[in-house]
Symmetry: C2
């Protein structure tokens, strides 16, 4: 059967992985695509840099127009990061009649509506399995396999870098800064890891999942998010004492008042699948009204897992599955009648973990409990003593500076509204015997 | 847009769930299918029995020919259990020009080659997501989403009934027979649970996954299998002491000598995702050469999860995705050049858990160690004392009959071949101080 020509635009880590898979596993890919898939062009503005893939002579070019004007190229893997020039290039490729496969979650989170509208106008498709969860098939999972369900909730670990850092801190007692350095050393974190650790990356991915599962057109910047830079080793230890691990959890959940959306370090109960996700892995727990709970777990980043998802999308695009899916999903479209609006985060109820740094004086506990009670918050359990396991660990524990005579006071609340918790914490921090630097984390049972 | 007519054949538990989903969620399904899906017929030989679904007047009929001869019916959900008459009915439907959606793993495990060949000849398709893992999208996961990978291994918990029974035994110390009764009481187990607990159901599902992932045409009866009826509460307790849970594990793994296939109660290390699968859940751990480890977890049976998978298949069939997938997967076809042949189980190496029931006499240990050494098997660790936690548990522990003066001797081996283990166990059981009823379980680290 006649072969089909494809191109890769952007020869970074992911592009190199995709090129290698296409070049080395041609037979396998031809079998699944029903015909040979010929990598005809690889486009990058830098054609000289060394990459960990060997391309045949002449394949790597810096002229995008050659791809756009070659009518035999039907599908393009566009794996340039960031918003521009990725956006303009994608629009030009769509206008040139190409179907797109991308892994760029920032671009979709930012310009999804524009790009999808344009693709629809032009009768083209955009496949984006690799944009969320790396090699985990969560886009197909929700968009195709769970299509008989109304999705009720998504609870997910979507940033492998953060999960690696939290795992290092939790298992080895490594301080935050050192754990970040280790993540950089292993290639999990960028030189500037801000987008990973402040929850932005997870919020971008969550906005894509929320669009897919709930038809919610949410700007990712509007998703309340707290990063893991607020978490200290001492909090991981107290959490363990209560029976929890701390995870950077991205949540999208339909509640009667609307759609709850947020990203925050969260105490997740020990023994539940999400709590046991270690290292650079991602995981997504989806609840559908027919299927119940379904849980996906795998490598959320990295050259090969991401290339696995990109090439699967490319095969789907070549055989025609993507065109069908794209037409029926109505992603980022205005077709849906009922629009889902995000809920006011201040009104979202839940349990909370609070840590205060207080002078070790009689009555401190009573006064703090009084403030909480005054805000309608009741205490479920409480720890007031030196940081745990201090004796058994000779290393600095990453906890608060040990002002002599001050102790951590840790409180787990019953259900409370985030707004009430914020108000209570402000009042407590104003008390004379409470030092700055209190910590507030959500709890998920 | 014009609606499409579909039919359900077989109004048992799954058929009722599918009918309810189609009737109650018409808008949702129409949105994903791109047009209204009309349930035109429900066929069952018994039209009078009460079911937990209310069908519109005249929908339920006992005459299959009306479906076969209605040219407007394009797709049929065939959810009759067992091999016959399910096989004959499926052939008649295919010959009548209908695409098929089925949940019947026994039928596919038994007659997959015949049915798929016939469907191909007739230009029709068979979708079977619900045949393995209930609501977990494992068929699409492997067949479509991981299509860029060579699958290297599958380790799976595919029988929810067995997992429920093992969980009850492990967590509550319930004896095997009582745990089976509880499973029946909750509707997880049939009146005759033989196919569930003896590993046959898991072997049928494994044969389907092996076909999908490795192109292996394996008759499920040829898959070596051991059921959970060989496991006692005392073994679960010893396993815990070594740091393991016992799971009924279905394994398909490519090794240099061929494809390893088996179903057996297996010690799985505590803290790994498979070990933490509780109750009636299923889970599948897939390793692909690009994606690495991917783990799927969800309800493996039950009316609604299974209906979720069936209706997703039905939507895929209506929109045309199934036809594409079916054509490119070459399932149960003779197209593949290299046939994968199962490996001789006697040669499969691994670690083993052995429990012997011995007279408490000096030298027993030494003599048993001698036999193992003679068969080339070395001991990794060993427990010789009364059954654990006996003092803390007033109930009978389900262990071996307590002949006065006899004790359990538990051994964990280093890597050994199954054939050598079998030979050693035979020799040990022939020793004068060893009583009948020794236990041999595989260990997976």
């Amino acid at each position: 059967m006649q072969s089909v020509k494809v191109a890769i635009v952007g020869l970074g880590t992911i592009g190199s992985g995709v090129a290698r898979l296409l070049l080395q596993q041609g037979d396998r890919i031809a079998r699944h695509a029903g015909r040979p898939v010929e990598l005809a062009y690889v486009v990058d503005k830098d054609t000289r840099r060394e990459r960990n893939v060997t391309l045949p002579e002449g394949l790597l070019i810096d002229d995008l127009d050659r791809v756009i004007h070659d009518p035999e190229v039907k599908a393009v893997v566009q794996v340039i990061g960031g918003v521009e020039p990725a956006r303009s290039i994608m629009l030009r490729l769509l206008e040139g009649g190409k179907d797109i496969v991308t892994a760029n979650k920032a671009l979709l989170a930012e310009c999804g509506p524009e790009l999808f509208d344009r693709a629809r106008q032009l009768g083209r498709s955009i496949a984006f399995e690799a944009s969320v969860g790396g090699g985990i098939p969560i886009i197909t999972g929700i968009g195709q396999c769970l299509s008989a369900n109304q999705i009720e909730s998504i609870h997910a670990i979507l940033n492998g870098t953060s999960n690696f850092i939290l795992t290092e801190m939790d298992q080895k007692g490594t301080e935050y800064a050192n754990a970040v350095a280790e993540a950089q050393h292993r290639g999990y974190a960028e030189a500037d890891p801000t987008m990973d650790v402040d929850g932005s990356d997870a919020a971008q991915k969550l906005s894509i999942l929320a669009q897919l599962a709930f038809g919610a057109r949410v700007n990712w910047r509007a998703i309340p998010r707290i990063g893991i830079d607020t978490v200290q080793v001492v909090d991981l230890r107290f959490a363990r004492q209560f029976g929890y691990h701390v995870k950077l959890l991205a949540v999208a959940e339909m509640v009667p008042e609307g759609l709850e959306l947020h990203v925050a370090p969260t105490l997740v109960r020990h023994g539940t699948p999400l709590a046991e996700v270690r290292g650079a892995y991602n995981a997504i727990r989806v609840v559908g009204d027919a299927v119940g709970k379904v849980f996906f777990h795998g490598l959320g980043a990295g050259q090969n897992p991401t290339a696995s998802a990109v090439v699967a999308d490319l095969i789907d695009t070549i055989v025609g599955r993507t065109a069908i899916t794209f037409k029926n999903l109505d992603l980022w479209s205005d077709v849906r009648e009922e629009q889902v609006s995000p809920r006011d985060p201040a009104k979202i109820p839940g349990r909370f973990y609070l840590r205060f740094h207080v002078d070790d004086c009689l009555g401190a506990m009573a006064e703090i409990a009084g403030v909480l009670g005054g805000c309608g918050i009741s205490i479920a359990s409480l720890i007031q003593h030196e940081a745990p396991e201090q004796g058994s660990d000779p290393k600095p524990n990453g906890g608060p500076k040990s002002n002599s005579g001050t102790v951590p006071l840790v409180i787990m609340t019953h259900n409370a509204r985030e707004g009430d918790i914020r108000r209570a914490v402000e009042q407590i921090e104003a008390l004379p015997f409470v030092h700055p630097g209190s910590v507030r984390l959500r709890v998920r049972d």
